[in-house]
Symmetry: C2
Subunit: 335 residues, 2 copies
Amino acid sequence: MCVAVQSQDLDVVGIGSAIVDVIAQADDEFLIRHDMVKGSMRLIETEEEAERLYDAMGPAVEMSGGSCANTMAGLAGLGGAGAFVGIVKDDLLGEVFTHDIRSIGVEYPASAATDGAATARCLIIVTPDAQRTLNTYLGAASGLTADHIDTALIDRARVVYLEGYLWDLETAKKAMVAAMQAAAASGARVAFTLSDGFCVDRHRPEFLDLVEHHVDILFANEAEICSLYEVEEFDDALQHVRGHCEIACLTRSEKGSVIVAGDEVHVVDTHPVEHVVDTTGAGDLYAAGFLYGFTHGHDLATSGRVGAAAAAEVISHVGARPETDLRALVADLLD
Amino acid sequence: MCVAVQSQDLDVVGIGSAIVDVIAQADDEFLIRHDMVKGSMRLIETEEEAERLYDAMGPAVEMSGGSCANTMAGLAGLGGAGAFVGIVKDDLLGEVFTHDIRSIGVEYPASAATDGAATARCLIIVTPDAQRTLNTYLGAASGLTADHIDTALIDRARVVYLEGYLWDLETAKKAMVAAMQAAAASGARVAFTLSDGFCVDRHRPEFLDLVEHHVDILFANEAEICSLYEVEEFDDALQHVRGHCEIACLTRSEKGSVIVAGDEVHVVDTHPVEHVVDTTGAGDLYAAGFLYGFTHGHDLATSGRVGAAAAAEVISHVGARPETDLRALVADLLD
């Protein structure tokens, strides 16, 4: 047993979609004209449809994204050890994704498909209120299957972190189940994010079962957790999830976050931000901070505060990956 | 004559390199390790060399750039009418460049090469002092020749704006000469930026001749104008350029800018910036603002202040293209 514990050299193995974000600013009228629901994520079926939307968008910035991958980048930025599993194609966006995640120190097994759909992209509209609306063409990322789950990698992890978004794909869902089984076998904790309110709507019964029986650490924002339990009030959702899941981290934008673990409940304030520019990645970076704290022996409240600090950094600029030294930012919190 | 004037529906036609920027942050030690001179631009000869440097860089953001193209994007952002001439390849970065410049309203004639070198990229290192160090692989952009200079387009311009960087390429230089001849024939003013101190070093005699005989509006920063006249003191350079060129706009970073036009001299302060993040594009956007003011009948001092405001916007975030509404930013200045 002791040997198995010593071999856990990775704080977190994340499994998710390998996506490059294409971020442009637009007004609310643009969302209406293109039938987008502000703050939500919708899937784009074909590359042609993605091209059409891209053509309508204003000047854009391209940078690596993907919910779980953003979390892994944040974890690495904090000094944590992580690996990411997700599929790209061997095209330019695939090269960009691979470069970015490896260059920040995340272990990323080679996974570029040589044929099939192009590397996934997420067309993100940022409105003047700093809200982001996502349009995702999954492309190569949807090629994730159970075959990509390397149990030797899972064996090295303290936490296996999965994104709910992948539940939209039947084969990727099987990959997630395989990862959870491998985690159960190796003794790794399973962390899971509900990803998006509409995603929860699509998979409520399965997500409820997951949360109760297979997930040790749940991440959800207010809309997602309320959707999961079909309640209106945050506090009602809080009472539901309490006892339903070992640890639940519930984020509430400017109201901070609430962490529930059985009898333990922490209400954590937001970290100060001078000017909110783009909320893309806020939840992803909160998860990064929490998981860093959690896997480094810090208590739940401290871990939540590290999450809040990492989220504050990422919403103060365009893009979902940290741009400044997260270690320096959280040093005071971890003294 | 009257017909010719009425047909000038473009404020500025810009001719330059069509480049996508790849921007990463690094410390000063990174510059030393890779023999880079902080704040300068160096050319990378091969795509392989560009790949090697990219591999060494940290996580990056990709966005359209190119000095002259940044200026045209700024001009369009201010509400000006512009066209850009520069060559890309029909690859993903070429698509990104084309999308971005057209989506902001700049006329961009189709120019994607179907074979040959890849679309140009500029690997930019931003150090903690917000200085940027550029490493440019020109690729397809170096395919610009005199054949790409459409005199019908030049005939429509009030100002033809050229970047000094192109002087490094023999065929592109011929394109610039052709553009200046077309401008002289149509009555358009010729604007020129010295681009970079080292670039001035490489072409001093030719640049001196250009400034004296062919350029109506010169843009230069302090290092460039001092290099041109081989003097140490800014004021010495100022006395040299006065009378040597019809209008010279000399930018001095935090010291503001000086505009000289014969007997007229204006000393224009910087526009307030809360936090300088990345100085990439400062000179390009200053030129955008000045040319917008100049082509819309504003006096030199007002045009300089519009330039300062546009520069302030672009240095307050990562990247060389404006991210906020420049029209709103300068509205007070143009009342």
